[in-house]
Symmetry: C4
Subunit: 189 residues, 4 copies
């Protein structure tokens, strides 16, 4: 059974409380799945991706509060690399034919177990990871096979706050969301 | 009568089972119909198109499972050419005043008959092909004349998974969809 | 009273039958109103606009069937100029503080009267023209003041087929739509 | 209690009547929150933002009618700077870790009090300002914490007319909207 934000069951909260690492696909999850293809006369190549500000605030917050974050993408995009640096994302794997190899490397480097990992994916290449992690998340605009393998489907679409929603869910399950919000009020006097 | 994904009639499945070649328009089908026009100071020209990741996975899958794929577009776009190479699309016709000439060339090169071809189109220039192929498909955002000439109208809009939906429909009709999905689980062991 | 496509009243059809010239605003009408602002390091300037393929087919058709077409925009955009050339648009006025001066020039050059002009606009700067032309059209995403001054509000939003819908309405009122569609079937033999 | 455009309560109108300065966040307010990340081969950097024409007309109108306008953004974007010049925006603060410092500078320069300021924000970094100003506004696509701290939530989404709606609300409360619209009819004779 899938759960949404408003009815996060105790089973879902139990899964969320164990999470130390949030990994995610890029296209369709951190974006709405639209791929910009740019061709310039003279052969120069520009790469464009469209991310969401709310996800950015969420990912910075995740890092600040001690979670590891990472992206594992089948495509290679310099724009994704640039955004990852901006947000302090810990693991950046791109051009991955098999996402499982990247995943195993993350486990090795962090000493984490499957149940300490949340993975957010939206399509067939994400199936192996969705079936394995402790908290498997998909998005409303995902392929049906990805949704079937998720413990949670976000309300917000990919590229429009889905990742932020997951980070919020994890911190709420851990009882840390108030603390997270409070960091923004420091200068408010 | 039009059919949607959930009620694919036996007549529609019969049409889909015969398909060896999937041809499609670009603007409005592989994209949402929005045309990026870019002008740069100094006269340089950049060309941008916005495709969808789900369609990309679908077209790669189609090729891998032995279908021919192709695009026939009235416009000329270097970005489309680039995307076609990325996805291993077999036939790329652009700047075509008459789509029928390109179509006839595909038949000749492949030895296929009309009923072995699926064509996806959304506007008036697509009418000649929609009226001729074995499986004529249109999209929700199409001109009414294109919809009237289609055997099937996708649930997903152009540029947002319509092509993926058609490829899925064909493989399901052929009883090959499970096999297609399984190729993504190889490394999942 | 406003009319939509499905209930085009005889009063609306009477207005539409007289039209020889279709003029329109750009932002919000030929686009969805989103303004791309691009800044490049080194001071180079790129200009991007997002048009719709269906409007493009409609505007080419309008020209082919003998209507004059034109854009009158408050902003100056090289991308609009480029698109106008592509589509054979007859009148291109940009950077117009007062749209009325451009309008009067069109009347002078064509010898047309107010009632032979259709104008499509979506915001306050369009009010003077909407109040004057024979067929004033606005879009669902328009400012309420523009809608109040329109004889017709399109079903399709600006940048997503609104202009195409108006051209279709005019040709249907003139009894020429079948003929227009038929031009696409010439090579279908 | 939140109010929408159609039921602007007398309490809301009282707040709006006092406003001399309209300040706003950029991402999610003047845009839909989507962040374009562009990477070009050779290390050149382009910055793109997507604003809305209706907000542009509104901000020009605000200036013309004597309001101060300003943006306070956590990110730094040359495209925002360019748009701000185009629209004659008075205060442009970017790359602000604490928005409160920028806010205090605006108060100092203008001699305004909190209740003479309207601030429009959509996410956690906006909370300190939303809690302080006389008229706190948020958007439908905002984080729930921002909405909870707003006196008014716009009907139109960020990047799609939200700012225009607020400017209209203020001028209507002041009884100046008719006058504002009339400025566009000057050349209409």
């Amino acid at each position: 059974m899938k759960h949404n934000r408003h009815s996060a069951s105790s089973a879902l909260r139990r899964r969320a409380r164990k999470i130390r690492i949030v990994l995610m696909d890029v296209d369709g999850v951190l974006t709405d799945g639209k791929i910009f293809v740019c061709a310039e006369q003279g052969g120069k190549v520009a790469d464009i991706k469209l991310f969401h500000a709310h996800d950015g605030v969420g990912l910075k917050l995740a890092k600040q509060m001690g979670l590891f974050t990472g992206v594992i993408s089948g495509r290679h995009s310099p724009a994704t690399a640039k955004r990852a640096i901006e947000l302090g994302i810990d693991f950046v794997f791109q051009g991955q034919e098999s996402k499982l190899l990247a995943y195993q490397q993350v486990l090795k480097q962090t000493g984490a177990t499957d149940e300490e990992v949340c993975y957010i994916g939206d399509d067939l290449p994400d199936l192996p990871l969705l079936r394995r992690v402790g908290l498997a998340v998909s998005v409303p605009n995902a392929a049906v096979e990805a949704k079937k393998n998720a413990h949670y489907i976000t309300d917000r679409p990919g590229g429009d706050g889905a990742v932020r929603e997951v980070i919020e869910l994890i911190f709420k399950a851990k009882g840390q969301w108030r603390e997270a919000v409070a960091t923004f009020m420091i200068h408010a006097g």
